[in-house]
Structure formats: C-alpha cells, structure tokens
Amino acid sequence: MLNLLEARKAAEEKDRSLRDKTMSLSEAIKKFVHDGDTVALSGPNFTRLAMAAVREIIRQGKKDLTVAKTLASFDVELLLAASLVKKIIASWVSVGVVWGVSKVMRDRVESGKVEFEEWSNFGMNLRFKAGAMGVPFLPAFSMLGSDLIKQNNCRVITCPYTGLKLAAVPALFPDVAVIHAQRADKYGNVIIDGPTAADPDIAKSAKHVIVTVEEIVDTEEIRREADKTAIPFFMVDAVVWAPFGSHPYDCYGYYDMDFEHVSAYVNLIETKGVNAAQEYLQEYVYGVKDHFEYLAKIPLEKLFKKAQIAKAIRYGWE
C-alpha cells in the first residue's frame, strides 16, 4: 500500500509511452504482483471477477497479500483457501448470499490468521474514489454512529462550512489493481460494458494495473466507442487475453454465472470441511498449468450456454 505522496510520485514517474503491453498472464503476475502487496480486485461480488488472474497468483504463491475490494467473493475465497492473505479490506466477503457465510473466511478470520478491516460498501468505494482523485480522504455521512468506524479506525470530522459531522474516509492506494474487463486494445485502453462497479477508480488509485480481458481489440474499436473507455492506456501496465476470465462468475454481455460450479465447491466445503478447499485448488488451480488448461476442464457446451444467456440478459430478451 502506498501513501498519498508515494502514489503521486509513482504516477508522475509512470512510463506513458504508447507501447504493446500484451503479455501472458504468468508474466503479468510475475512482474507486477509481489509478496506483501496490497492487491485491489475488480468487480463487485458476482461480476467481472479477476478469477483467471487470482488462480495465477495462487499458482505463483504470491504471499502475505492484503486484498482490497468493495464486495469480495470467490476471488478472495480462493486466496484465503490458499493461505496467501494476511489482511482483507472490504465491506463484505462471502461466496454469495445464496450460500450463506463462507466457512473458509470464518476459519481464517476467527483463528486470527487473517485480519479483516471492514468498511461499508460506500466506504470502500470512497476509499478508491479518494485514491483516484489523489486526495487523502473524502467525507461521507455513512458509517457514523455505527461500530464500523471503531473497527476500521475511520476518523470523524466537522465540516468547516456547516459544522456537520462526517466520516473522513481515507484514500487507498493499492500496489496493484487486477481488473477483468470485456475489451482492451494492446496499449491498455479498456472498455467496460455493464456496471463499472468501482473499477475505474481502483485502476486510477493503484501503482500498477493489470487488465485481463475477454477480447483484445483494435484501437479503432476503442475510438468508435470512446465514450465507454473506462481506463486510459497510460495507467495500465499489462494487458492479458483471458477469455472466460471471470469464470465461474459472470461477465456482462459475455457469459452468465456458472452457478453449478460454485454450488459444487460450496457443497464440497459443507460436507468435508474447510480443508477440502485444497482438493478444489488441486484440481482447478495447482493441477493446471494456465488459464486455458483450466477452461478445458469446463464442458464446452456449458460455456456456450452461459454465453447465450448473457446475451439474452444484455439485450433484454424475454
């Protein structure tokens, strides 16, 4: 995690050259994620998760990570299962409401192995927004009077104009943001379809940005839809082609969630306990050499079906 002045300096010194930043996922993680880093992850809890990148981080065993996210789910679940996390900064962690409280998260936090710093969702969004704006904090009327501000040490300030009390939500400057998006060109101009969540702000607040995408497109396509560019190239360090990179979660317009896959995982934990997560990791993460070997384990027909449903949802088919 950087402080404001370090983050400002990193931005000032960042190479702005228009250059081909495409690389393999393994190269991107090797270069830009380090032990002890604060890693911010994309997507709210069910959509555009950087799952391919998370699986590669686990394969490379990057450890002592602080993970920062608005609402975390299977991404943080797997990082916790792999014992690579020392701290979570988030508003919410669970595999999904449908499946109740995560047993793995409970085990790690209740045993004291992992620290959980909790904010409200708006609080997390403001932390990244302040980071993106390059200011030390942003004021908000959220979280006042609650125990969250005791737990996360958020300060309360008095507005110099109105005398009103506000929570001063501190900026968060991650070492690296890992973002899964629909499209980018080779330079790192990124288009996000559907809700952007906090992801443009996560990218803007971080020192390094890795983007994994469904499709790498020509810059002409970016120019045609420049109103949809969520992150400009000069903030991005690596562009990685990772189709179905959010699997088993969804990617707006590209594929629906693989509910059955996640259910099978949760059932495994429910029946055999938290250590059974290792079986899942062995099969789907350690046991495959890369993202494409992972994808080969998912029935092709299912993937195509999920893509079909995503289209129906995007275009409002009945």
Binding site: N45, T70, F141, S146, L148, G194, P195, T196
Partner: protein
C-alpha cells in the same frame, strides 16, 4: 382459501410487498426484499423504482433470469441505467432513496442490525460476511425497513456490533451524528414492529395471521412496547402466493412450505 398453504418466507414477502407506496424509489439487497419488491411491482406498486447497489437502476426482475445478487449481470436486466456503485450509493446520500430494505443476523430493540461480528469484534466467535451496502442504506435512506426470518436468538436486547444503525439507543440516532433517515419498522414471519419516534424502541404494530402476542414475546430477546390495540396482518392471498412462486420458481430465495 383457508387451505392455502404458505411458508414463513412467503408470509414475509407478501406482507412486505403491501408495505411499499407506489411511485417511490427502493434500494434493496438480495433475497426476500428482492422478491418482495418484484411482488409489489406486479401487484401493488407498478411504478416503484428499484435500485441495486451494483449499479442497476430500475431493472425489471425476470423470473427467467432471476438475480442471484444485487451485484451481478442479471440484476441489470432491462435497467434504464447502469451506473457505478459509487453513483447509486451516492443516490442514497443525496436523498433520492425513499425505502431502504436490509436484513441481518442480529437485530436489537432500537433497530440496530449486526451483519459483521458475533462476540467481541477484536476476537469474534463468528465473522459474518459484513456490511456490504447495508450500513449505507441504514445510514442514508429516507425510510428503513428491516426484514428477517424470525428466530429468537437473532432478536437481542443489544447487538454485539452495530453494522447498520437504527436508533442506536434511547437517545436516538440524531445524538450519534446521524442526521438523515428514519428506521421505520421490522417485519418478520411473526409480526410487524415499528420504531417509536419518541421512545426509539420497537413497538408491536401487527401480528401475522394465527400468531398470538404471547408467541411473539416468547420469541424476542427484548421487551417491545405493546400498544392497547395490536392489529392483524391479512394472510397472503392466492394471487400473492402464485405470483411469488412465478417470481422465484425454483425457491432460490423464498423457501416453500414443506
């Protein structure tokens, strides 16, 4: 009609759907509140505008593509706007949200809700998923409704941790720097209790069909205010039950009667 069978969840959802005024905005999390809003849209409040924290503004809830989360692609089905989370959470702070609906693991007599820590937060016996947008909804929506399945252990005198503020204590939330919003009521499969504006505590408003006052009191870890007259909530209609089962055909959110 007397043979109409319904589950506790269906009881909650039907009563909640009747609670919302039309032409208002409503900000909900997942689960029962989503189905309640969909039911309201279909039967009672066709012009209620739903907003999800993931960024979907006024989506249409589809039984075919029922959302799993307020933060998935499905939640955006036929939305009129797909905003950022920051945008929609700012709608709350700006005052554009009439109803905020939350749920929780623990609730106390003052309407404070805990979805974070059971036990001491420095060494919790249970770490729950966390606030998500619940604190923001409870801090910033104009009117706050709590919806919960009734289990005695969840209704406590004082929550272990205030994730989402109700009235905080007998002094009221205004004394704790919270200047917006009003905790309205808590609805369960046993009763509807409203928060008394003066005393700040839960007051029994109405009982669900077939529930006695004693039954309710036996299932609360606190003493509510009991008015002279306690109303009775009308049982779910055939149309309500049929519509609920159309909205959630696989019973993902609304558990069916055994």
């Amino acid at each position: 009609m007397s043979e109409l069978k319904y589950s506790p969840d269906e009881l909650i959802v039907a009563a909640a759907a009747r609670y919302f005024e039309d032409n208002k905005t409503i900000f909900v999390g997942t689960g029962l509140p989503v189905v309640a809003t969909a039911l309201a849209q279909k039967l009672y409040a066709p012009n209620i505008s739903l907003i999800f924290e993931g960024g979907a503004v006024r989506p249409i809830l589809s039984d075919k593509y029922l959302t799993y989360s307020p933060n998935d692609a499905r939640s955006c089905y036929k939305a009129i706007m797909q905003a950022s989370s920051f945008d929609v959470l700012s709608f709350l702070q700006r005052g554009f949200i009439d109803y905020g609906v939350i749920s929780g693991a623990q609730v106390d007599q003052y309407g404070n809700v805990n979805t974070s820590f059971i036990g001491d937060y420095r060494k919790p016996t249970v770490k729950l998923p966390g606030s998500g947008g619940a604190n923001d909804i409870a801090s910033l929506a104009n009117r706050i409704l709590i919806i919960m399945r009734h289990e005695k252990r969840r209704f406590v005198e004082k929550v272990d941790f205030i994730t989402s503020p109700g009235n905080i204590d007998e002094k009221g939330r205004e004394s704790h720097d919270i200047i917006f919003g009003k905790p309205l009521a808590i609805l369960t499969n046993l009763a509807l209790m409203e928060y008394d504006p003066q005393l700040k505590r839960a007051k029994v408003k109405a009982l669900q069909p077939g529930v006695t006052l004693q039954q309710l009191l036996d299932n609360l870890g606190f003493k509510p205010i009991i008015p002279e007259k306690v109303e009775e909530i009308a049982p779910p209609t055939e149309e309500e039950i049929k519509t609920i089962r159309e909205i959630d055909p696989r019973g993902v959110w609304v558990k069916r009667a055994k």
